[in-house]
Symmetry: C2
Subunit: 210 residues, 2 copies
């Protein structure tokens, strides 16, 4: 299909498609004349992926670019490619005032308690520290008990995620699934958490006047 049709099918403006082509987020089409190229289903799929990561996952375009470069790089092994992909989508956030040390010790204890083997350079370590420090600063840090229960739930989710990935074949498919399941999955998990909260809240605080 031509770029105009690709634009209609994907609901992405032609100018945006051209920008993605220049930036390497989208692979080139097959050149049919000096000013025209033909695009196929793979371009449509990639455009949908980019839009979902931006619109649902809230990722900046620069991060999407880094992530897709890791997905497209055939040189790296599976765990490493998953790592690069996941590292890119985890912002470390900024500091949390004077609570950084306390938060750091708590995250370290949580990782030990969970038996997790993670790199000291994992951005999620810095991310967890930063958010927790911010919660301390606000005077609303979760208790040790709550933190442990969150970590146990996160462990079950991570275990389910990797089992799902283990059932797949094909490198590119694995990378894309990991990416979608993680970025869009965060949004879905947040929604499921809200539903669980509402249900537990209704059970705990029944409203006589409703």
């Amino acid at each position: 299909m031509r770029v105009s049709e690709l634009s209609r099918s994907s609901e992405v403006p032609v100018a945006t498609i051209k920008y993605y082509l220049r930036e390497g987020l989208l692979h080139r089409g097959e050149t049919t004349s000096p000013n025209q190229a033909r695009y196929d289903e793979s371009h449509l799929r990639r455009l949908r992926l980019i839009r979902a990561l931006v619109e649902v996952g809230g990722l900046p375009i620069a991060v999407v670019r880094d992530v897709l470069l890791a997905v497209d790089d055939p040189e790296i092994g599976l765990h490493r490619m998953l790592g690069r992909t996941m590292y890119a989508v985890t912002g470390a956030g900024d500091g949390g005032g004077g609570f950084a040390e306390r938060a750091e010790a708590q995250v370290r204890a949580l990782v030990d308690h969970s038996g997790w083997t993670v790199s000291d350079k994992a951005p999620a370590l810095a991310g967890a520290r930063s958010v927790l420090a911010r919660m301390h600063e606000l005077g609303h840090a979760p208790s040790e008990d709550t933190l442990r229960r969150w970590a146990e739930a996160a462990d079950r989710i991570g275990e389910a995620d990797l089992e799902a990935i283990g059932r797949l074949t094909g490198r590119e498919r694995v990378a894309e699934t990991a990416l979608v399941a993680t970025v869009l999955g965060d949004a879905l998990l947040a929604a499921l958490r809200r539903l669980a909260q509402e249900s537990h809240s209704a059970a705990r605080y029944p409203a006589p006047n409703q």
Copy 2:
């Protein structure tokens, strides 16, 4: 303290503080002269909360405003107030092409399976449907097994959240904690999920060359 000192302590520009005052996100200070007001610790706390919701939680200012109005409204009961607060922070997102019906049925089945009692109008229902439809569209929807395990983990998180809230006293404190634990908690849970994923990935795909 004066507004200049409030600005220094909170690292929020004076112009932004005045904007928050006009919009009702921040309560007025005690007027000391026609052009001056005195602010206290409660203003500093509120400013920190607003900044955290915007910077870490990624909420738009209009949503922060709605949420804080619900928190500040003394007329409504606890479950309802929590509901309003949580409903405001859950964007429904946009549709997901032709997969809406399938996603709707899956979310409905998930709620039934989990034994959750939630309003048909819960924005998280629409949010879950929308994200799931998007994942179907991308060809990377989670399996039924993964969805159930995510919902079970979300249920444990929601249960821990409401137990933590149940240990608190004071209406405003409850509302603020629920808000911080939910919005910043989503970011923390996402980080913990990444750590768990990394650990399970390392166990599943050991890299001989690393």
